[in-house]
Symmetry: C2
Subunit: 352 residues, 2 copies
């Protein structure tokens, strides 16, 4: 197989973790006989510095000519006081919208060897294996009108039927491939967009009689993700609820530094990035944890290229390295030595 | 002191827990020489059954003639398929709006004797002592236009400068009376309403140089409430974020069943209710935990009537009963016998 990938290292630890993930991708290519052509472009703060634009046209053109995108992270204090249109995260919001990457998949799975880092009791966190499917291109993030004056401000949450249908279908399909359980999250006791969302889930579920479907309110799920996260398989929700719940879910297993994500559209084109941010405070020190970006490459292989075996091999290797007791500084326990980004990546490469 | 209180028992376990709280209130009245005049009215499902209206005019009139409101809980499966305007929670939303109860205060404090019930590790949860100040009458909950058709739906998030200013001031004042720390929560990297919110907090903080103020994004706070909740003193945020974060915060100390809340307006008139819901599955069995409602009465004494000593006495009594190892079924550990609602209330009454 031959694929073109645009690599967007971004800011902070982005370039470091992306470098590790690219090494893993190349080794997988060699071992399974695929050719991955990589092209690099700018996004976020790096792009603001170079082009005065968090998502330059050059970057868009390169992404359009490729089969998938690998992103590091964007943002940092340097650009925090910029005008809204010149902030790093604007690049992220624009690339999602431009490429219609409407389905954000965020798996959260407990690694037994990382549970000591979890704020939750072991028995609460150990069975977690869930996938949050977040709608990524609609809702309050993009609705018009939006306006701010000195006297007041307004944002608009809009969803069309089609926007809800496609993300809900996506989630049902994923649930079918997993444990066959779907929890749809809304605030139907207050919001009209949530009432439509709930109706559409009710309609669609007729086509998925094999999937056990429930509705739950966002405030209630915010509690249950802490008290009993093991009950969830696939969770589907709108953009803002998904933002909050997926970040909440990301810390329950103690493994924020190892969580990958995929943002895909209907034809399997997608953007892959770690859940963690650009961590400017440790950037450039060679100590960042590359696991989340490496696992994002695994998601790319699986979801954009259909390379299941290759994806599984990366996951196996990462798990094995953790089980062998190798950790970067963020996860190292008191009695273990912590590895640098490069050393830890070497362990993964040796495993493959 | 002489005060009039409207009591709204509501649905499910509402009437049972309210009955306990009223007993405590009367004993406090006797002991400290106050007269509390109680009048009962209907809200929620009970009001729908009786008046076909979740908030009848009779109830509004009675509340208008009183100094504070004590509410049990509303809702239950019986009314789940009602039209939106005939649902129990509509009564709650209407009473908040009608009486302009814009400040929702939700304290979360770890009780050492309850930490075994927490999903978090003891060392993460034990220092929690925070107060969420949620804006309760604006934002997506009440903004117009709101509309649902078959083709799409829309909700509107609106905030005026005045709405933000009064809740932010309220939070600064509370922070000053507590540990002097305020965390303002928004999504200023995406929403215009959040950008205005952040600006107003920046303006107001000049009047509170003694309060240490920070801004944080809602997704980030959703994580930190789990990884390090002990860092927070007062958290202030808009309506929907407050709904999600306060429910999330309510489970971290293992004490959802004991959390009170206050919803107040500028002149100290307020509505007091437990954070937990109507728990229809255990209603009528006499096993509900009345602690949250009893502690809501303490908040009423403090915030609406300025009776600090009386409020402290209730809190002391409740803590003492827990420390003595008396629990209702929801909190009882394996080796302890669980008390009925009445038995547990007796313990508190004996303590006072
Ligand atoms: C940076 C920000 C705009 C973004 C979002 O809110 O979507 C981030 O929090 C995320 O979840 O990817
Ligand atoms: C019942 C519901 C409308 C309400 C809310 O969302 O405000 C509840 O969740 C609460 O927090 O009091």
């Amino acid at each position: 197989m031959e694929k073109k990938i645009t690599v967007l290292p971004g800011d902070g630890i982005g370039p470091e973790v992306v470098a590790s993930a690219v090494k893993v991708l190349q080794v997988i290519g060699k071992r399974f006989n695929h050719t991955f052509h990589l092209n690099y472009a700018a996004i976020g703060g790096a792009a603001i510095d170079q082009y005065n634009n968090p998502l330059p046209d050059e970057t868009i053109a390169m992404c359009e000519a490729s089969d998938a995108i690998l992103l590091g992270a964007v943002g940092g204090p340097k650009w925090d006081n910029n005008a809204p249109s010149l902030r790093p995260e604007k690049g992220l919001l624009k690339i999602r919208k431009h490429f219609d990457l409407f389905a954000n998949l965020r798996p959260v799975k407990a690694f037994p060897s990382l549970l000591a880092s979890s704020p939750l009791k072991r028995e609460v966190a150990e069975n977690v294996d869930l996938m949050i499917v977040r709608e990524l291109t609609g809702g309050l993030y993009f609705g018009e009108p939006r306006k701010k004056t000195d006297a007041g401000a307004i944002d608009t949450c809009v969803y069309s039927r089609e926007e809800i249908e496609r993300i809900v279908e996506n989630a049902f399909e994923l649930a079918r491939l997993r444990r066959g359980k779907l929890c749809s999250v809304d605030k139907a006791n207050v919001l009209d967009t949530s009432r439509l969302w709930r109706e559409i889930v009710e309609e669609k579920k007729k086509q998925y009689p094999d999937v056990e479907t429930e509705h739950n309110l966002v405030d209630s799920v915010a509690m249950k993700l802490i008290t009993n996260p093991g009950q969830y398989d696939v969770i589907v929700t709108e953009n803002l609820f998904g933002d909050i719940l997926s970040d909440e879910a990301s810390v329950i297993t103690g493994s924020l530094g190892v969580l990958p994500s995929a943002s895909i559209r209907g034809d399997n084109f997608g953007l892959y990035e770690p859940v963690h941010g650009s961590a400017p405070e440790i950037a450039g020190q060679g100590v960042a944890n590359p696991a989340a970006t490496i696992l994002s490459v695994a998601m790319m292989l699986q979801y954009s290229f259909g390379l299941k075996e290759e994806a599984a091999e990366i996951e196996r290797a990462v798990t094995a390295v953790f089980n062998d007791g190798y950790f970067t500084a963020d996860l190292a326990q008191e009695h273990t030595r912590s590895l640098s980004t490069e050393e830890w990546t070497e362990q993964v490469l040796n495993e493959i």
